[in-house]
Every structure is written in structure tokens, then in C-alpha cells.
Amino acid sequence: MVTGGNALFHELVGDIVASGSGASLYAISESVRIYADPGTNVSVSAAGQSVLLTVAGYLIDVP
């Protein structure tokens, strides 16, 4: 993400909800306040594993 013109990375820490065969399933539920400037690409990186995130927030007009 980009905020104030600078790239920003935010790490999400999950809790193990299931594991087996050398792999685990993590669940994430976190309140945050992250700002992203217009045109910013918000992306997720899960180290090559499957991931599904729901991101909630709001868009505000930029004066």
C-alpha cells in the first residue's frame, strides 16, 4: 500500500485453527486503521500459500 507517498507493509498474524501433514490453517481477524492514497494497489502476499481475506473500510473524497 501507499500512504503519504510511501509504500507500507502491514503484517497480519493468524491463529492456527487446523493443522496436519506439515501444514496449518490460520485464521485472521484484526481491527486496523490503514490509509491508502488514491491509485494505490492494495495487495496480499501469503508466501505462496492459499489465502482469502476480507477487507472492510470506507472511501473518502480527497479535497
Binding site: V13, A23, L25, Y26, S31, A46, L52, V55, A56, D61
Partner: protein, 270 residues
């Protein structure tokens, strides 16, 4: 030889003699020594020396009253007396004629054909002007007709003036009233340097309301929150990116989900 008396002829001879005497009195200038008279005391211009005009003995028989006195060039001569003695004296009148033919009465340097120093009185007929008009009386009063846009009658005590509201729009040319003609403190002549038609624009926290001749400007009270739109999106391996629209700022408040990872990869970045 018998001489006959012819009354008519004698009369003619006397008339001739009388005529000669008059001519001599006008043209001859007998010497002062012979006459014993002195020239008039008044100064006379050169060439118009005050010369006593006297008749000699022969002329005295025909014209018993000698003419004395003198005159000034350009000034009409008049008899100045005495009239009861043995001579007649002439002198300057107040009527003068300049070299270019202008006549002055009481004025020795007339600038017009007739220049008078003093009042002119016409007893009959009045005055006639070059256009042929004749004026027999001085203008003492006149009537001036006008409508209600003017006041007064044109006299000294009631001069002509413009009546209240006597000037209408029709009397004024377009764009004839300039800024300098508007008194200070009366009207707004510009707003922040803007002139002519000025338009106020509203903004998100300012509302403008026009009603009749009233403009109401309303401001939103309290903190002004920017317009916001709730948003929710999903990120997964097939759709890993969400782009924030132009003109909008994204505020992320909550993230939830799950991910599978090996024992060595337990973190996810947004």
C-alpha cells in the same frame, strides 16, 4: 447818361457782394498784426492751428461779426459763442470722426461706425437691427414654457432647474454613469476586486439559498466529515489486488480471513 434803377439787378449785386463776404470770412486768414487778435487759448493739433478768422474792412462791411476760435482735427466744430457781441467763436464739439470714418460721441477713438459714451435715447421708432427687425422696448420679462421635468420660470428669483425625478432613464445614454459619479458609501462597487455580475458558489459545507432579494449563506455546524462510502473487497490468490479509485482515499478498518501455510510460513502481509 441817365441811369435807371433796376431793383432786381441791384438785389443781385448785393447778393453777390454778400456771397463774397461770406466766402472771405471762411477762407481768408488775416494777419494777427492787422487784426490785433490772439489765437484761441486751447491747444490744437499740428496742421489745425487755432486761427482767428476775421474779416477785413471790406468783409466787415458785408459780414459784421468775425468768427474766432479753433478746432481739433477729426472733431466736428460747433459754435461756442459769444452770440451777442461783435464776434462768433467756434470750438470742438464732442463729436469725433476717426481716420477710418467711425463716429464717436463723447469718444475720441470710436471702434465702431458709431460709438457713444453715454446713454442713447430713441424717442420714436426704436432700434432697427441688421436682420430688419425693429425693437421699440427693452425686454423686461419673458415666458418660458416647459413641462414638469423642469422647475422655475427663468427669472432671477426663480431660475430654471431640474425637477425631482425630472431625469428619467430615457434622458440618459447607456453606460453614461461612471464609477466616479457614484458617491462613496452608497453602493457596493466591487467585491474582492470583482465587478459587474458576481456569482457566489456553494461548497460542501456552505449552502446558498436565494429567495427574492435575499441570499442566505448557511454553514454546516460541528466537525465536517468528508463524504465517505463504505467499501469491502476480497483478496485471494486469484484476485490479489484492489486499486484505490482516483480522488478517493481508502481507510481500512478491519481485515479477516484465513490462509494455509507450512510450518515455516505463518505470516501474511497486506
Amino acid at each position: 447818361m441817365k441811369r435807371r434803377t433796376i431793383p432786381g439787378l441791384l438785389t443781385l449785386i448785393l447778393a453777390i457782394t454778400l456771397s463774397v463776404g461770406i466766402t472771405g470770412a471762411q477762407n481768408q486768414k488775416p494777419s494777427r498784426a492787422a487784426s490785433g487778435e490772439q489765437p484761441a487759448a486751447s491747444a490744437s493739433p499740428a496742421g489745425n492751428e487755432a486761427t482767428p478768422v476775421r474779416s477785413n474792412a471790406a468783409q466787415a462791411a458785408a459780414l459784421p461779426l468775425p468768427v474766432l476760435g479753433g478746432g481739433t482735427a477729426g472733431t466736428i466744430t460747433k459754435w461756442i459763442g459769444p452770440f451777442g457781441g461783435n464776434s462768433i467763436t467756434v470750438g470742438d464739439s464732442i463729436i469725433n470722426e476717426s481716420a477710418n470714418g467711425n463716429i464717436g460721441i463723447g469718444n475720441t477713438n470710436p471702434a465702431s461706425r458709431l460709438t457713444v459714451d453715454g446713454m442713447i435715447e430713441t424717442r420714436t421708432g426704436g432700434l432697427k437691427f441688421p436682420d430688419g427687425s425693429v425693437q421699440t422696448t427693452a425686454v423686461k420679462s419673458f415666458s418660458l414654457f416647459h413641462d414638469s421635468s423642469l422647475t422655475g420660470n427663468g427669472s432671477q428669483t426663480s431660475p430654471i432647474g431640474i425637477a425631482p425625478r425630472g431625469v428619467s432613464t430615457a434622458n440618459l445614454a447607456d453606460s453614461i454613469v461612471t464609477g466616479n459619479k457614484i458617491a462613496s458609501g452608497v453602493v457596493v462597487r466591487s467585491v474582492n476586486g470583482l465587478t459587474d455580475n458576481v456569482t457566489l458558489a456553494a461548497c460542501p459545507n456552505i449552502t446558498l439559498t436565494s429567495a427574492g432579494s435575499t441570499l442566505t449563506i448557511s454553514a454546516q455546524t460541528g466537525p465536517v466529515a468528508p463524504a465517505s462510502t463504505p467499501v469491502q473487497f476480497f483478496l485471494d490468490n486469484g484476485n490479489p489486488t484492489f486499486q484505490v479509485p482516483a480522488g478517493k482515499r481508502l481507510v481500512i478498518e478491519f481485515v479477516s480471513g484465513d490462509f494455509g501455510a507450512s510450518a515455516t510460513t505463518e505470516q501474511t502481509e497486506v
